[in-house]
């Protein structure tokens, strides 16, 4: 079956459960396609032989009651995988082989899925284009030399190019939703506290969340159902009633109130984004939703707040990379010299920049002016959402202010790169769930996404809205396999 890799996760699960396909056949198909797609640079570490072997073992005694029976999957290289190198896209972890497994990936393997390899990402998830990775930039399968978004750029590229039926990314300021938008795929950032952070290389702990990236909303709901678990190993994991998201998925969203925040109409927003948003509003109305204008007055302050909070937490989290316990070490004349050389040679430019920003805003004399100020503004941003949710059930916005850009186009201007996340960052600051679904194309034929933001713990609702709208939008990704020889 040559078209195995064209099937969605849900179709593959169905075909394995009904024994039309074996795990070995499916795994072989994705391994072969991944192997032929090296030009995309989506993988950092391949584990194909092990994957094929595990598929063979699965087929000998298949447990077809599992949710992901014998499904091969590559994951973002920010999740620790036992005995398989985990780099976070950084030279400083180039040789790091975890001795333990992240809770999220463990949940996935427990449901029968099989690891194929680790996917490229921006270094320590700090980036919006996958260009900060020590392992090189990633190609967007939509067009040559186009960024796949970031930081989960290897993940978005691999799902869009059908190198893996589905994957997981992490989202600190938009790192799942923005790459999903750039590649015509679906990406969900869950509510803070739904998915365990245990075993995920930390970037900004009050913002980081893992989430699914998929070809469609149903697949996304299925994987979310697997990875959303309470975990005592993560002190900010939250116990709440979790749905069977894929089973409870419905297109009936009649009467749902969807808010349109006027502040997301930002200066200089391309007309095609504005048009996409208008089209999205019409789709939502067609599905029976009620559209309500709302205000999120502090939206413009979200990015400056994020660029204090995230680097501050990063500078603290990344203090652990000292060349002593694990990872890369540069030799030095004395201990301090060894630390400084290790970190200077081991971290890339963007990571060093963010550590320096974070160190500065936390340093004596500046803490109140920057960090405390940012935490207060963060409260105002969250209050905006709390107020809005008194009137609406969900919020509809564009996912990004533009479509994907060319590799190298924005690398020299950090602020213009940061502006990519203008619509996604407020969601992380408020700890809310948000999903990006493909909704159209720009004049160049590049995909554009719409974001649906929900109330905390209300993933089911935004999945349902996305599911209903997906049918109306009927998006087709235009992928020509240009990278295959």
């Amino acid at each position: 079956m040559s078209d195995i890799t064209k099937q969605s996760l849900s179709e593959l699960v169905e075909n394995i459960k009904s024994k039309k396909l074996s795990s070995s056949e499916v795994t072989k198909a994705f391994v072969e396609r991944s192997d032929k797609s090296k030009e995309l640079n989506a993988y950092i570490t391949e584990d194909y032989a092990n994957a094929l072997n595990k598929a063979k073992i699965f087929d000998e005694k298949p447990d077809l009651n599992l949710k992901l029976p014998g499904i091969p999957m590559a994951v973002k290289d920010l999740f620790c995988t036992r005995d398989l190198r985990t780099t976070a896209g950084s030279k400083i972890l180039n040789n790091f082989v975890p001795t333990y497994e992240s809770t999220v990936t463990q949940s996935i393997w427990n449901e029968g899925a099989i690891l194929m390899g680790k996917l490229n990402c921006d270094e320590f998830a700090m980036g919006s284009s996958n260009e900060t990775s020590f392992f090189g930039s990633v190609q967007n399968p939509i067009d040559k030399n186009l960024v796949p978004g970031g930081s989960s750029g290897g993940s978005s590229s691999a799902v869009a190019a059908q190198l893996t039926p589905i994957t997981i990314g992490t989202d600190t300021g938009g790192s799942i939703r923005q790459p999903a938008s750039f590649t015509g795929t679906v990406g969900l950032k869950p509510t803070y506290g739904s998915c365990s952070r245990y075993g995920i290389v930390a970037f900004a702990s009050s913002l980081d969340q893992a989430g699914p990236m998929a070809q469609n909303v149903r697949d996304c709901a299925l994987l979310h159902e697997v990875i959303s678990t309470y975990d005592e190993k993560d002190s900010t994991s939250i116990e709440f009633k979790r749905n069977e998201y894929s089973k409870e998925l419905t297109k009936d969203i009649k009467g749902k109130k969807i808010g349109i925040p006027k502040e997301y109409r930002v200066d200089g927003m391309p007309k095609e984004i504005e048009d996409l948003w208008k089209k999205g509003i019409e789709y939502a109305k067609d599905c029976g939703a009620e559209i309500i204008d709302i205000s999120l007055p502090h939206t413009n302050y979200a990015l400056p707040t994020y660029y204090i909070v995230a680097p501050a937490e990063a500078s603290s989290n990344l203090a652990r990379y000292d060349g002593v316990k694990y990872g890369f070490r540069a030799e030095g004349e004395n201990l301090i010299d060894m630390y400084e050389k290790t970190r200077s040679e081991g971290f890339g430019a963007e990571v060093q920049r963010r550590i320096m920003i974070g160190t500065y805003v936390l340093s004596s004399g500046y803490y109140d002016a920057y960090y405390l100020k940012a935490q207060k503004v963060r409260k105002l941003i969250k209050n905006d959402f709390d107020d809005a949710y008194k009137k609406v059930d969900a919020i509809l916005t564009p996912s990004t202010p533009s479509s994907a850009f060319k590799i190298g186009e924005k690398t020299n201007d950090p602020v213009s790169m940061y502006l990519n996340d203008i619509f996604t960052v407020p969601v992380n600051l408020a700890g809310l769930p948000g999903i990006s679904i493909p909704a159209g194309h720009d004049a160049k034929g590049y995909p554009l996404g719409l974001q649906i933001i929900g109330k905390a713990f209300d993933e089911q609702n935004i999945l349902n809205i996305a599911y209903a709208m997906e049918e109306k939008i009927n998006f087709k990704n235009n992928i020509t396999d240009w990278w295959l020889k």
Binding site: T99, E232, E333, M356, G431
Partner: protein, 95 residues
């Protein structure tokens, strides 16, 4: 506001990241443009706003004080760049 080279050197020392003159100049440029952007927050009056330290509105859970992982010595030392039996090895600290 302007971050000068002296401040960059100071932050670099606090961050334990070595910088030479060229890198310091590049960083000063980048950080100044980022902080110009961050200054926008000063438009807001926040005197009576409570800082948000966690979006998860729960108190930290207590758990019983039990050892759940043990005998991890080999695992802990496994990824070390340099070790000697049970110890991490670093450049000499005390003469």
């Amino acid at each position: 506001m302007s971050i000068d080279l002296k401040t960059i050197k100071h932050i670099s020392k606090l961050s334990r990241i070595s910088v030479d003159e060229k890198k310091a100049e590049k960083l000063a440029g980048d950080l100044n443009s980022i902080f110009d952007f961050i200054e926008k927050l000063n438009e807001l009056k926040t005197d009576n706003v409570e800082p948000l330290t966690s979006v998860a509105e729960t108190t930290l859970k207590l758990r019983s004080d039990e050892v759940k992982s043990k005998n991890l010595r080999d695992q802990v030392i496994k990824n070390s760049p340099k070790e000697n039996e049970d110890y991490f090895v670093v450049p000499k600290v005390i003469e």
